[in-house]
């Protein structure tokens, strides 16, 4: 089909292409709309109800191609998205984000909280029919902690002082001290098959492109730069998924993905706020066939101060800037209203997010008063605040990301109103990290953090994590926060842990080492032929039950035309 499609595309799109190319060379992909299949599909009524059934192919789009399907080696999101359908972990998060067993039936924590014993389910099998046992788990742990393995995820597992397999269904780990994030780390580690990898170098093995796992799907075909096709694993440890095949097409440009979605060549994609709020409402033809889903994402945007530089070591200056920034304006202007304000580094509405905390309100007068208290006034009457004869001016650094750049422009204007002159500098990601973040050569950054499900944020906020390349690059150091973060790692009781992190968030908000700006919604479009999607999404997001999604055979694509 792709071959034929391509020819059509050249003919139909040529005139349009010529016009568009004049003004935006990057939009060349734009000509793939208005294919004939679109017209046919418009006649199908997608409102009928059908009971769940097996079969069909779900086609989605991803912007990047995985470098490997061994997630611990690849490290990028494209890899974990695909590998998550192929490999199991010992534990998983359920739809309410509570830990539950995946490969394990149950687990016990010893009374001194240092030893965890996992009891594997019986009769687990790899896709190639070999048994999956505790030996495989031990092997995976050995690999992830091996110095020769090039993985960024080793440090959590190196805290395990002893790992043993008393029998084929039992795996036991012992930590030197209680380690609260331990269970979360085991929920993130894909178990690899020892029988296929024991004589291989995990960094370079061909297994990375030809994996054998135990989850719902197995890799059928990987065409470089084009697609990865997964097909149902008959030996799956978690039961059978309803949809037969998952096809992930690699389409780097969001605008091109959108055109493929409009032409019914893909079933789902992540949307940006413009596509969601501006393009979709204007296209009733799309709304008829495609459903939109909105859920709070797992990341937030912030403005971070280099606390080693003056005057950002002064809490009054940081709070003043926090008061001077209008967060709602950023949500309205940049995210087109598709986001929420945040007041802590935890997803609003989850257990770890402190419901008592509110973001700093927009209050320029309070900002001016705080700056005056810190010694900043406009002595020379040039409209810019100054102290000791030096004007208050600094540089806002961010990477090439349209939303962050627009955020920077909005902040710049608000700061200008209270007499602070800020310049914006946008950099390409590699030089941004290498030349500015690692050597800490910046005043202020606009960046984002993705959140893990465990509340431990030791690596971001603890004062010991400031070396070049570590995550506390803003050089935040507060003995009370250090203590709380250390206590949080040792506390396994969820309620006590919650109190610790609520207290930590409160100090963080008051200290204002960063200005919390916004948390954007994750916006997804999925074709209405796909059924079984939970709406509204549970805390774990709409993707929590993809194995229950189904495509009624009346709505299935013509499978013959797939390749």
């Amino acid at each position: 089909m792709m071959q034929i499609k391509h020819n059509q595309l050249v003919k139909l799109g040529f005139i349009k292409l010529a016009i568009i190319a004049l003004f935006a060379p990057f939009m060349i992909a734009a000509c793939s709309d208005s294919s004939s299949s679109n017209q046919i599909n418009n006649k199908i009524d997608y409102t009928k109800n059908y009971p769940p059934s097996n079969g069909g192919t779900l086609i989605d789009a991803m912007t990047g191609e995985p470098s490997s399907l061994i997630a611990m080696i690849a490290g990028e999101s494209a890899a974990s998205a695909i590998a998550g359908n192929i490999f199991n972990s010992l534990l998983k998060y359920d739809k309410n984000l509570e830990l539950t067993g995946e490969l394990v039936e149950s687990w016990d924590v010893s009374s001194d909280q240092k030893t965890i014993t996992f009891h594997l389910k019986t009769n687990l099998k790899w896709a190639d029919n070999q048994p999956l046992t505790s030996d495989d788990v031990l092997f995976t742990w050995q690999k992830v902690t091996d110095e020769k393995t090039r993985t960024p995820y080793g440090s959590d597992f190196k805290l395990v002082t002893k790992a043993e397999t008393p029998d084929a269904n039992t795996f036991r780990v012992t930590y030197a001290a209680p380690y609260a994030p331990a269970l979360d780390t085991w929920a993130g580690l894909h178990i690899l098959p020892k029988h296929l990898l024991k004589d291989q170098d995990i960094n370079t093995t061909a297994f990375a492109r030809n994996p054998v796992g135990s989850h719902y799907y197995k890799l059928e075909k990987w065409k470089n730069g084009q697609f990865l096709k997964l097909t149902r694993n008959e030996n799956a440890t978690q039961g059978q998924a309803k949809i037969d095949n998952l096809l992930s097409r690699i389409i780097p440009d969001k605008a091109a993905q959108f055109l493929e979605l409009s032409a019914d060549n893909i079933d789902s994609m992540g949307l940006n706020p413009i596509q969601y709020a501006r393009i979709f409402p204007a296209r009733p033809d799309l709304n008829k066939n495609i459903a939109l889903y909105k859920e709070l994402g797992n990341s937030y945007t912030y403005l971070g101060f280099n606390l080693k530089r003056k005057p950002f070591d002064d809490i009054r200056v940081r709070q003043a800037i926090n008061y001077a920034i209008n967060k709602q304006e950023i949500i309205d202007g940049v995210l087109l209203g598709l986001g929420e304000p945040v007041a802590s580094p935890y997803k609003p509405g989850t257990r770890w997010s402190n419901p008592d905390l509110k973001p700093y309100p927009y209050d320029p007068n309070k900002a001016r008063a705080l700056l005056k208290a810190a010694g900043y006034e406009d002595h020379d009457g040039d409209g810019i605040l100054d102290k000791d004869g030096k004007p208050f001016t600094f540089e806002i650094l961010t990477n090439q990301n349209k939303e962050r750049e627009m955020t920077g422009v909005l902040i710049q204007r608000r700061l200008n109103e209270i007499g602070i002159k800020a310049n914006i500098r946008v950099l390409e990601w590699a030089s941004f990290l290498g030349r500015f973040i690692k050597p800490k050569e910046f005043d202020v950054v606009v960046l984002g953090w993705s959140l893990s499900l465990d509340p431990d944020q030791y690596s971001i906020w603890h004062s010991s994590q400031q070396a070049p390349g570590q995550f506390n690059f803003i050089s935040y150091s507060n003995p009370r926060v250090d203590k709380l973060l250390e206590a949080g790692r040792l506390e396994l009781n969820p309620d006590k842990r919650m109190k610790i992190y609520h207290e930590f968030s409160k100090i963080l908000l008051e200290d204002s080492p960063i200005v919390f700006l916004s948390a954007g919604y994750g916006l997804t479009a999925i074709h209405k032929r796909v059924r079984g999607i939970s709406n509204p999404a549970p805390p774990a997001g709409i993707g929590h039950n993809t194995y229950e999604w189904y495509i009624p055979s009346a709505y299935a694509r013509n499978e013959m035309s797939e390749h």
Partner: protein
């Protein structure tokens, strides 16, 4: 001059350039809004009598931004070409006047510079410097002097042995006097023509750099970065791509018409009667 403007293409080019320059100069008087004034309640409005060219993703008036952007785009063109021409004249004059090993050396440097794709050289240099309007002018200037150098050298080589030069030399004129009062004025025409064409390409390079995010930095407007901003909205906010695209196209066309017209008019083989 009259003969020049009687050529309709030159006249069109002249009118285009003159009006763009005029608009750029009087931008603060004509612009209906502050080009940086953000209004999140008026995002992406289509062109109307209130906003002639609509508004962008932050609710800024595109018409005002286009006017101020014209200042940036044209200033980059003039300054960059000024730098390139100055370097080109000096090196070309030295090479063409003294000939010998100096000439060989300078021409080999020119060859080396010409062998590197200019745009990628500029990209690499800008990646190391802070992208700012001044750096861009300097970098474009420092990477586009080769054409002028060759041109000036060729003119000098051909003028060097003409009678009036030899006569001046025989009268005891020094090198500097020979170069500046006898040779240079006689080679001005091709220099002017190539400068005007050079401005056109400098405007294009600046737009390209800004389009890639390495040029003029936000919130300052230039045609290139208005165009980049528009790229994301092209499916429904056509005005964000159309107007800056047209502006670049028309301006570059204007400079090319004018430059070509001048070359035709002053071509010694067609105008020496």
């Amino acid at each position: 001059m009259r003969k020049l403007l009687s050529n309709p293409l030159v006249l069109i080019g002249f009118i285009i350039i003159a009006s763009v320059l005029l608009l750029a100069v009087i931008a603060p008087l004509v612009a209906p809004y502050d080009p940086d004034a953000i209004d999140v309640k008026a995002i992406l409005l289509s062109p109307s009598s209130i906003h002639l060219m609509g508004t962008d993703g932050l609710g800024r008036d595109v018409f005002s931004r286009m006017l101020y952007g014209a200042r940036i785009s044209l200033m980059v063109g003039f300054v960059a070409v000024g730098i390139a021409t100055a370097i080109g004249i000096v090196l070309g004059a030295i090479a063409g006047f003294y000939r010998g090993w100096v000439d060989t050396l300078i021409m080999r440097i020119v060859d080396v510079m010409l062998s590197i794709p200019t745009f990628f050289l500029i990209l690499a240099v800008i990646a190391f410097l802070t992208p700012s309007i001044w750096n861009i002018m300097i970098v474009i200037g420092l990477t586009s002097w080769m054409g002028v150098t060759r041109l000036v050298r060729a003119e000098f080589l051909s003028l060097r042995n003409r009678e009036f030069v030899l006569a001046a030399q025989a009268l005891g004129a020094k090198d500097v006097r020979l170069i500046f009062t006898h040779l240079l004025p006689n080679s001005l025409t091709p220099i002017i023509v190539s400068s005007i064409l050079g401005i056109a390409s400098a405007v294009l390079v600046e737009s390209g750099l800004s389009f890639l995010g390495l040029g003029v930095q936000a919130p300052q407007a230039s045609w290139g970065n208005i165009l980049t901003d528009g790229k994301e909205y092209i499916q429904f906010a056509w005005w964000l791509s159309l107007f800056p695209g047209l502006a670049i196209l028309i301006t570059v066309l204007g400079y090319n018409l004018l430059g070509d017209g001048l070359r035709e008019a002053y071509n010694p083989r067609s105008s020496q009667h």
